[in-house]
């Protein structure tokens, strides 16, 4: 919340100056936060100088990209970089269906996999969070979950014919 309050005004001002609306500023800012989070947990970027300036930088990049794509509308854009990934979400209807299934049937495992692979948490922290006796049992659980979810995805994907490209 502190980061939201600190960094959103500058992004809102920028988007407004560029002719964008409040909703556009909100959407861009939320994508910026996701990118920022992913970069910070993967230790790809260490922001030592100015967090707000860094977030505004990503926002400008996303805005420029949105503007560019608005004009060209090229689906075969080869200039993809790592700021582009967010739009790829939910593009396949069967992936959405599968995700929905996993959210309900495999939620515990998805949470564990998220903690390991997305949040990049330390194993001892994960053991503590999920109530495992130690590092070893948390690690075993991670691989069991990966195996289980992988199996579900395989089964369901083969059932949803259109999943296979």
């Amino acid at each position: 919340m502190t980061l939201y309050k600190k960094a959103f005004p500058a992004v809102a001002k920028y988007v407004s100056k560029m002719g964008g609306s409040f909703d556009e500023a909100k959407d861009i800012f939320q994508d910026v936060l996701i990118i920022y989070y992913e970069k910070s947990v993967s230790a790809e970027v260490v922001v030592h100088a100015n967090e707000q300036a860094y977030l505004l930088g990503i926002a400008k990049h996303l805005w420029a990209k949105k503007f560019r794509e608005g004009i060209h509308q090229t689906p075969l854009d080869t200039n993809r970089d790592d700021y582009d990934f967010i739009e790829q979400d939910d593009t396949e209807p069967s992936a959405t269906k599968l995700l929905h299934y996993l959210e309900t049937a495999g939620q515990k495992c998805m949470e564990i996999l998220k903690a390991f692979y997305y949040d990049n948490l330390q194993v001892n922290k994960i053991a503590e969070l999920f109530g495992y006796s130690g590092i070893r049992s948390a690690t075993v659980q991670k691989y069991k979950c990966m195996e289980k979810v992988r199996e579900i995805i395989k089964e369901k994907s083969l059932a949803y014919e259109d999943f296979i490209e």
């Binding site: 309050k5 998220k114 997305y118």
Partner: protein, 85 residues
């Protein structure tokens, strides 16, 4: 279960040259391995999608609090003024 760790190491480029050579050899010996790699990649993609959705929901809840609760009124007005043309 061991395969899962091996495939992860392969996908995330962990391990040394020896491990990679060993993995290449396993690919030849075990014809199901490449299939397993591709399902594991799909799993990682879905874990990422799941996680982003969760994170986005958390961010949205912060946004809702900032733009509805009384204690954040001055912040809200400051932002909305930016968009009054």
């Amino acid at each position: 279960m061991n395969n899962i760790k091996l495939i992860d190491d392969h996908l995330f480029n962990k391990g040394g040259i020896e491990d990679r050579l060993l993995f290449d050899a396993m690919l030849i010996i075990d014809p199901t391995l490449s299939d397993q790699i591709s399902w594991q990649q799909k799993t990682h993609a879905l874990v990422q999608q799941y996680s982003r959705k969760k994170l986005k929901a958390e961010i949205e809840s912060v946004h809702q609090q900032l733009f509805t609760r009384c204690e954040h009124q001055s912040f809200r007005q400051r932002i909305l003024r930016i968009f009054i043309k």
